[in-house]
């Protein structure tokens, strides 16, 4: 139980990643490959965000306001912001890749009338 | 020992390379173009000769162009051995250029500009090999020569040329990349240098097994030397126009091969090392197999040029044998044979070409009675043959004499037998050509008894080389002196 609680996030990310890889390699349909790719990318985000989590800490926005006096900021109060920043980038990269992949898939469909990898390869001959 | 630092060896090599530019630019005006060739040839010969006094006085002319990597420099050194070879090559280039004009124009060959350009490049590479001060420079020019001669060998650009060209490159490049390059790298990684020195650089660095492997890699790797079984390219390359065969396959290319072997044996391995390890005998056996086998094969060839080619293969191994004897006289004989064989063999090739230009005949069986029609050519052919066989009064006798003395000196009686029997075989395949050309009845003769020689541009060079062959018997200088100095330098006694 201890073990499970300590690491389950990491195990789940590994599972998601395996699903993604499997889809990218084994699936014949290009759209499925793209979905697999997106799952793969989100798995990495799960991993990074899990690194940033911190017990007993809150979101990384420093409490402030007109009424609140400026106190010394306590590190333990806020979760680690760095992985969040990195993952914003990863999400954006993900959507970029998705757009490009979809565009290529659509061009392929226009050219070969199919999204199935084996049919396309056949029609290329 | 005087060492002169001068750019001359480099210039001697470069002059013909630079000449390519005017040759290509004046491609539309053949006379001007050939003028450039001659000019470059004269300058080259002049440069080589101008270094001769220094070398004869026991000095060397050195020049380091560029040190690419530590211990890996493009450097030149004109010493006795290199000078001997450069002198032959530079002289014969001039002669061959003259002959080429007659031959190429006589047959209205195409792409003459390309022909003369690559000819010049090939000569540059040959002189580069002669004056290379280290193995790297030698390898560089060796490869350059391989590449430059490819368009010459395949000049006709037909199916046969294509097949021969392939064979040529497979042998030459295959061995140089597959054997010489790794051997060179191993030497470098063992010693950190590639310079040719008097005593060699390998002694005391590694085990006997490695030395033997390296030796074999080098000897077979320099496939231009035509040691069997690396000889296959030479007969194939006979599809080239005859002046190419003459200069490149009797002089430049093949001699670059044996010269390289000579250099490696003396400059990298060192005579003492080879003697201590007793590797001379191994090499002798390899060389003598080639000598005998090539001579036997030559007997059965009907194509004149093919017969000459196999004869060349055999004679090249004489030179290797001379080196392998590891005795002063033998080595002198080997080096001298580079010169003597060059003049003799080029005469023979010129004759073959002249016959082809004048009559279109290539096979010996078709040459019955040709002596009546082309007496000058055929007499020159006789002189050339005598020189190659080693009959006085020709230069070939001098070199073979030294070789024979060498076998005695080295106590290698079997080699003496090999040399003598090979000479008999030489006579057996050369003299019938001459015999058929002159001694036949009028009915047997295939030619009308009217004197009709090839153009003067063709005949003059072959007469000249034949005369030189005879002249070298009476005065084998400066080649003998150079050879003796070279041997003295590396044997150190």
């Amino acid at each position: 139980m201890e073990m499970l609680l300590a690491k389950y996030n990491y195990w789940i990310y590994v599972t998601l990643m395996m699903i993604g890889i499997y889809a990218m390699i084994a699936k014949c349909n290009l759209m499925k490959k793209i979905i697999g790719m997106s799952i793969f990318q989100t798995a990495i985000i799960v991993f990074y965000v899990s690194i940033g989590a911190k017990k007993g800490a809150t979101i990384p926005i420093i409490a402030h306001g007109h009424g609140v006096a400026h106190e010394a900021v306590r590190v333990a109060d806020y979760v680690n912001p760095l992985p969040h920043v990195l993952m914003l980038t990863a999400i954006v990269v993900g959507v970029g890749t998705l757009g490009v992949a979809l565009a290529i898939a659509m061009s392929i469909h226009e050219k070969y009338g199919s999204l199935e990898e084996d049919e396309i390869l056949e029609r290329q001959e | 020992m005087e060492t002169v630092v001068s750019i001359k060896p480099l210039l001697a090599s470069l002059v013909s390379l630079v000449a390519v530019i005017p040759i290509v630019l004046s491609g539309k005006r053949p006379n001007l173009r050939e003028g450039w060739t001659f000019l470059a040839g004269l300058i080259k010969l002049g440069l080589v000769v101008s270094m001769l006094p220094v070398v004869l006085a026991g000095g060397t002319v050195q020049y380091t162009l560029w040190e690419v990597l530590p211990g890996l420099a493009i450097a030149f050194k004109a010493d006795a051995m290199g000078m001997l070879f450069a002198l032959i090559a530079a002289t014969l280039w001039l002669v061959t250029s003259a002959y080429s004009i007659g031959y190429m124009r006589g047959l209205h060959e195409h792409s003459q500009t390309r022909y003369f350009s690559f000819f010049a490049v090939a000569l540059s590479a040959t002189i580069g090999v002669a004056f290379a001060a280290n193995l790297f420079t030698l390898y560089l020019f060796y490869e350059m020569l391989s590449l430059a001669t490819y368009p010459l060998v395949t000049h006709h650009q037909d199916g046969e040329a294509r097949a021969s060209g392939r064979k040529y490159l497979t042998f030459i490049l295959g061995t140089s990349i597959g054997l010489v390059l790794p051997a060179m790298l191993i030497v470098y990684s063992l010693t950190g240098t590639l310079d040719f020195t008097a005593a060699g650089i390998l002694s005391g660095t590694t085990t006997k097994t490695v030395i033997v492997v390296l030796l074999l890699m080098f000897v077979f790797g320099f496939a231009k030397a035509g040691i069997m079984p690396m000889h296959g390219w030479l007969p194939a390359a006979m599809v080239a126009p005859t002046p190419v065969s003459a200069l490149l396959h009797a002089v430049a290319v093949v001699k670059v091969g044996v010269f390289s072997i000579f250099r490696i044996l003396t400059g990298i391995f060192g005579v003492d090392l080879l003697r201590t390890l007793g590797l001379g005998e191994t090499l002798c056996v390899i060389a003598s197999i080639t000598i005998l086998a090539a001579s036997l094969i030559a007997l059965s060839q009907d194509g004149l040029k093919r017969r000459l080619a196999f004869s060349t293969i055999g004679q090249l191994s004489y030179i290797v044998l001379g080196a392998a004897l590891l005795s002063p006289k033998g080595m002198v004989g080997g080096l001298l044979h580079i010169a003597m064989h060059a003049f003799g063999k080029i005469t023979l090739f010129f004759c073959a070409g002249a016959i082809f230009v004048a009559t279109g005949k290539k096979n010996i069986s078709e040459m019955v009675g040709i002596g009546k029609r082309m007496p000058v050519t055929m007499i020159a052919f006789l002189i050339g043959s005598m020189s190659v066989i080693g009959i006085p009064p020709t230069g070939g006798f001098i070199s073979k004499w030294h070789l024979l003395l060498g076998t005695l000196e080295a106590d290698q009686l079997p080699m003496l037998v090999v040399l003598l029997s090979s000479s008999l075989l030489n006579a057996a395949y050369f003299l019938p050509v001459f015999y058929r050309a002159f001694f036949c009845t009028a009915e047997e003769s295939l030619f009308p008894a009217k004197i009709e020689e090839a153009p003067a541009w063709c005949v003059a060079p072959l007469v000249l080389t034949a005369l030189i062959s005879v002249g070298l018997f009476f005065n084998p200088q400066p080649f003998l002196r150079l050879a003796e100095m070279a041997v003295q330098f590396c044997v150190g006694g």
Binding site: M37, V100 | E67, L69, E143, H156, L169, I177, L181
Partner: protein, 496 residues
């Protein structure tokens, strides 16, 4: 106005800013694109050369982007290794851009603006990957280079589409592996700065997590560089890419990936870790050997000229990976020198293939018939590149091979030495086959007296870059010693 202090960032920012300007200008008038691209890349090259000189004189340069000190901010680190690679990348990109004019106008006249914007951004990505000292920043730049690359390849249409799609999938896996590797390093060390990670790591050498991080990062780099057996995506992608794309991508993408691998090995994980803690040195050299032999054999079986070149790239990647993993000074020197040389050699070959495509509308071997007569200058320049691939002195290819083989001998990895020689031989066969095809004209009679072929040279904008590259190959060869002593020997980690 701008001090030399700022050169490192200018290398990347100049093309980045220009890319957006090119896009805006290009939408007004397409004719702005080409000169603006050249200007941008020339600016970048100038900054790269300036940086190179500074590195040669002053040693390693650190640049704090945003003024924040590492490891908190992102840092640019220019040492002897990447200063050299930066110049190569900027130089190759500039030359490829110069030569691209005709091909682009011919192949996609409607998309000139997009093409040049992507072209410059791809260069930016490659430069950024090379210069950065931050593990995560490298990932972002890697994605920029990758996305632009997918698009530039897909612009070839037809078969390029499927090739590009495969590349997207595989490339994403590669980049994500790298990112995961960085994640593992981050979770264990808490840092993203390469130098910082390297100082923290030694205490963690024994852990599985670092091992996994190393494997993931290396796998990522290998996928990106098409290291055997992960090379499946490359041949199609580069064969069917538009000529102007392949002239840029083929020389640089794999080389920068090799650089990344070397960077990860020596500046993130540390030479001690990769060579002594990881037990895979021998295995990788064997894989490299397989890459060389396999790549060469596949190249031998191709009828398509461009496709043949792509398999040669696979083999050349084997050279560099093998060299780096020989774990000897000369092997690593050879690998780094080969990054430089191979970039230039490959550029030469692909520029030539661009000319062939432009002139003959195809890239089969048969398209090359009679080329020596038609384009003597082009063929001469190509011959220099080909000889360099074979490894004939004094071309550049000889000297890097020289170091690689010596490295192999030092390490006692004879199979690698044999593979290198084998590949030289195969290259000789390949290129002489091409010379032969180009040398013999299609219909010549016995003595080669065919109808006179008119000289029909490539346009100046393609020929000139090719000639420059050919000269560069020889110059690089002659100056190998200088390059090694001034730069590479400082880049080889001490103590191996």
């Amino acid at each position: 106005m701008i001090s030399p202090e700022q050169y490192p960032v200018l290398i990347v920012v100049t093309p980045l800013l220009s890319a957006f300007l090119i896009n805006i200008l290009g939408n007004m008038d397409k004719r702005f694109c080409y000169p603006a691209t050249l200007l941008a890349l020339a600016g970048s090259l100038a900054a790269a050369v300036g940086t190179l000189c500074r590195v040669a004189n002053e040693g390693v340069i650190h640049y704090r982007v945003g003024g924040w000190p590492p490891p908190f901010g992102i840092e640019y680190v220019v040492d002897h290794l990447n200063a050299l690679v930066l110049v190569v990348v900027a130089g190759v990109a500039l030359v490829a851009a110069v030569a691209s004019k005709r091909s682009v106008e011919e192949e996609f006249p409607h998309k000139i603006t997009q093409f040049y914007t992507l072209f410059v951004l791809l260069t930016t990505g490659l430069l950024g990957m090379t210069i950065t000292g931050d593990a995560f920043n490298l990932y972002v730049l890697m994605e920029i280079a990758a996305l632009t690359n997918y698009a530039l390849i897909a612009m070839g249409g037809n078969r390029a589409l499927m090739a590009s799609f495969n590349y997207v999938v595989v490339g994403t896996i590669g980049a994500c592996f790298y990112l995961l590797g960085v994640g593992h390093l981050y979770i264990m060390t808490g840092s993203l700065n390469m130098a910082d990670i390297m100082t923290i790591l030694p205490s963690l050498y024994g852990t599985n997590a670092i091992l996994v991080a190393a494997i993931l990062m290396l796998l990522g780099a290998w996928i990106k560089m098409a290291f055997f057996p992960l090379h499946g995506w490359l041949p199609n992608a580069y064969t069917y890419a538009p000529s102007a794309t392949s002239s840029l991508v083929a020389p640089l993408m794999t080389k920068v990936s090799v650089y990344i691998m070397i960077r990860v090995m020596f500046s993130v994980l540390g030479a001690t870790y990769v060579f002594t803690v990881l037990p895979v040195k021998e295995l990788i050299v064997w894989l490299a050997t397989a890459a060389i032999v396999g790549g060469s054999l596949f190249a031998l079986s191709q009828k398509d000229f461009k496709r043949m070149l792509t398999f040669l790239i696979v083999a050349e990647v084997g050279y560099m990976v093998g060299g780096a993993w020989l774990a000897t000074e000369r092997g690593i020197t050879g690998a780094i020198l080969h990054i430089v040389n191979d970039a230039v050699m490959t550029l030469c070959l692909f520029l030539f293939s661009a000319i062939v495509v432009y002139k003959t509308k195809g890239h089969q071997l048969s398209n090359l018939e009679g080329m020596f007569k038609k384009m003597p200058l082009t063929m001469t320049a190509f011959a220099v590149g080909a000889l360099s691939m074979i490894g004939v002195p004094p071309t550049a290819g000889f000297f890097s091979k020289w170091y690689l083989i010596l490295g192999g001998i030092d390490a006692g990895q004879w199979q690698f030495v044999v593979a290198l020689l084998f590949s030289s031989l195969v290259n000789a066969v390949l290129f002489f086959r091409i010379f032969e095809i180009a040398y013999y004209e299609p219909h010549s009679d016995h003595h080669g007296h065919s109808a006179p072929v008119a000289i029909d040279e490539a346009p100046m904008s393609m020929l000139l870059p090719l000639a420059v590259v050919a000269v560069a190959i020889i110059m690089l060869g002659l100056y190998s010693g200088e390059i090694v002593t001034t730069f590479i020997q400082h880049a080889v980690p001490a103590g191996i």
